[in-house]
């Protein structure tokens, strides 16, 4: 039983099992999870990558030379993206704190920025390092504030172009508001769509966010008073008096709303327990979120110790990112150069930091294993098994999955790379 619990913990809370993992944590799987919550250090694979401001300055230069578009497709910006995405994928596979890597992915997806917008291409990795990693065990409000102020988010959701209609710039140029960031901030980042806001709140939030932009010359956040809509605004019944700090105060209010607690709790429970999460777990998480003023360490501790998240068998379908990382761990090696690694994710439908919308990647099984999606996974598993045949697939299976009778039987009647292919295809390996 302890081996099963260890394998469960490795997949559910971590990024999958390497061949030696289960035996080394078998005495205390729960302790293995909890110990990782003591600190979140930057994985060495990500050290030395350029910060967002640096990459934005470079993007600005390329824009002046009118080379930004071609460069994002094949030049140095594209190269930087590939380096970042591959480093992050590898960090997931080799980190000694895979629970942190999973949490980073969860929050990165919650605050989605997508490379569908060109400006995001060179700074998506920096966004994750600068916004998510520092706060993954910190306070929700701090992560929210960092996310909304980051140039990647300000560019992705158009806030850099939103201008108060009565601001100095607005009066002069007959320009105006863009609601994009304000709406997604309320709907996707904090309150949730049923969180009790109306169109007027979206417009008030958009007005408060005017002037939140970045300086392309130094690549950092900048408040531009010339763009800011003057005057008082009302958000969810509270009055805000204008100026640079009003949006700051609004973010704090949103982070402390009970609707936000409930929304975050539901998403966390869905990711760690089941597509349709147990209501008691959602309640417990939501309560802790509110009681601790959004202390994500406290919330995460509840998450990883409640019975609901330890209920066997593994109920969640691995996303393509989960699957690729778990395969790297299982095979104990790399799956190819940067481009090839990212291609694997792309053809299974999850190119890193390229979610189709600000809602991020889906977190339900049926969205990931439709008929064609499953065919792709199996075709990919076949290619991996052919390339990386192992001598003793049955022994490997014993170390990385808690195989049921169907999987054991199928593997028993196959040999070598065929058996390895069946292992990677098995339901136990496809779920977490």
């Amino acid at each position: 039983m302890s081996r099963e619990n260890a394998l469960f913990a490795l997949s559910r809370f971590g990024m999958g099992a390497s061949p030696g993992d289960a035996s080394s944590i078998a005495s205390d799987p729960r302790g293995w999870v909890l110990d990782q919550l003591s600190s979140a250090v930057l994985p060495p694979q990500l050290a030395g990558l350029p910060d967002g401001a640096q990459s934005l300055r470079r993007l600005g230069q390329l824009k002046q030379e009118r080379k930004d578009k071609t460069d994002a497709n094949k030049g140095e910006l594209r190269q930087l993206y590939l380096t970042e995405a591959a480093a992050r994928t590898r960090a997931g596979a080799v980190s000694p704190t895979p629970v942190i890597e999973r949490l980073v992915r969860f929050w990165s997806n919650h605050f989605t920025v997508s490379t569908l917008r060109l400006t995001v291409v060179p700074i998506a990795g920096a966004f994750e390092r600068e916004v998510v990693r520092p706060h993954v065990l910190g306070r929700f409000h701090d992560m929210l504030r960092a996310a909304i102020r980051h140039p990647a988010m300000l560019a992705y959701l158009d806030n850099t172009q939103s201008i108060g209609p009565h601001s100095m710039a607005g009066e002069k140029r007959a320009k105006g508001l863009n609601e994009n960031l304000a709406r997604e901030l309320l709907e996707l980042h904090t309150l949730g769509v049923d969180g009790g806001y109306a169109q007027a709140d979206v417009e008030a939030m958009a007005a408060m966010l005017t002037g939140w932009t970045f300086d392309p010359r130094d690549g950092g956040f900048r408040y531009a008073p010339r763009l800011h809509e003057p005057g008082a605004k009302t958000l969810l019944g509270s009055r805000f008096e204008g100026g640079e700090m009003e949006a700051e105060r609004a973010l704090l209010m949103l982070a402390r709303s009970p609707a936000t607690a409930r929304f975050i709790a539901t998403k966390l429970a869905r990711h760690f327990a089941a597509d349709d999460p147990p209501p008691a777990l959602v309640d417990a998480l939501s309560r802790t979120f509110t009681d601790t003023d959004g202390d994500l360490l406290a919330v995460t501790k509840i998450l990883v110790t409640r019975a609901e998240t330890w209920a066997q068998p593994l109920a969640k379908i691995r996303s393509p990112d989960d699957l690729v990382v778990a395969t790297m761990k299982a095979m104990g090696g790399d799956l190819g150069a940067d481009q090839r690694l990212i291609q694997s994710l792309t053809l299974m439908g999850q190119m890193p930091w390229r979610a189709p919308s600000p809602a991020g990647w889906p977190d339900r099984g049926e969205a990931w294993v439709g008929p064609e999606a499953l065919m792709r996974r199996l075709e990919w598993a076949k290619a991996v098994a052919d390339r990386m045949a192992r001598q003793a697939p049955a022994d490997l299976a014993e170390r990385i999955i808690a195989a049921g009778p169907a999987t054991r039987q199928a593997m028993d009647s196959a040999k070598g790379r065929d058996a390895l292919f069946l292992l990677l295809s098995s339901r136990e390996f496809q779920r977490r």
């Binding site: 158009d158 863009n178 919308s357 064609e372 499953l374 169907a406």
Partner: protein
Amino acid sequence: MRLSRRAFLGTVALAASSPGALAAADDRRLIVVVLRGGMDGLHAIPPLGDPDYASARGGLALGRDGTTALDATFALHPALAPLTPLWSARELSIVHAVASPYRERSHFDAQDVLETGGVKAHALGDGWLNRALGGRSAMAVSQSPPLLLRGAAKATSWAPSPLPGLPAAQVQALAALYAGDPLLANAFEDGIQMEAFAADALADSPDMAGEARKKANSFPALAAVTGRLMAAADGPKVVVMELGGWDTHTAQANRMAQPLTQLAEGIAALAAALGPAWSKTILIAASEFGRTVAQNGTGGTDHGTAGAMILAGGALAGGKVVTDWPGLDKAALHQGRDLRPTLDDRAVFKGVLKDHLGLSGAILDGTVFPDSAGVRALGGLVRG
């Protein structure tokens, strides 16, 4: 996939015992294209003849240059020019000032309502098109079926894969792996059947298939292979495709030309690849909502309400712009900012399902669109 042909009809045979199932010989085809992101109907199908058009749209207003006039009021955006031959052949219709019952402005809830056919988001867990299948074989051109096609009735998904197929020798062993796991078992069975069918149906058009494999993001290339699969006598009869890129909050005049071109070329590619079967086909392209009438502060438009739907197909009584046009006068706008909806999109879907696929009023009002008896099927869309 190196498998012998297993008729896609296998899927149909399983479902055909369900009540309301139609004979497999039914050769009528339906394609629904979900335009994700909120297509600006006023930009795609501009009401150039509306007296308030130019002032209401400001910098986004189009001139007549390059457009195709549809009638005294409406025109096709220049990027939709590939649809002009269909208009001339009466194989294209436009429905304007149309919206789902949803009146808020979230993409994700609006798409939920568009796809489930409910009156509010998250009230129904399956798609209206799934409930309308009645035994017809259905396929989404994607990795996993979108909500529109998900539900109790069987529906598969397929897209051209750049990877080599699975060895036939291991299909049995794989199937055994998923016994007792319905999500994986069903996806596997449907995936294998579809791979075999597609390999066969595309055997004579390797260039087309290769093009679609290479250009994973090209809607026209995808549409061409889709049309080829649908043209096969035992191919899927109901198909869902998706096209994004419509969320034009900024620089709309430039940004929207691309998805419009993709859509128009895609529809033209479907018509060509379907060949004679195009005469039995209707395509509906619909989006979750329209956009604001006035441009926003950044040369784009924000989330709005009513928009336009594009219908095409040889089975269409085409050449019409169907609308109870509310006008663009400020006083006529919904909440003073959006095109006012004067038609429920379910009326359009019902009209096509009734007159093209022969679904009964009772099934449409009770099952496909629950409690929707008050929304009457729009007549006259389909060739009699």
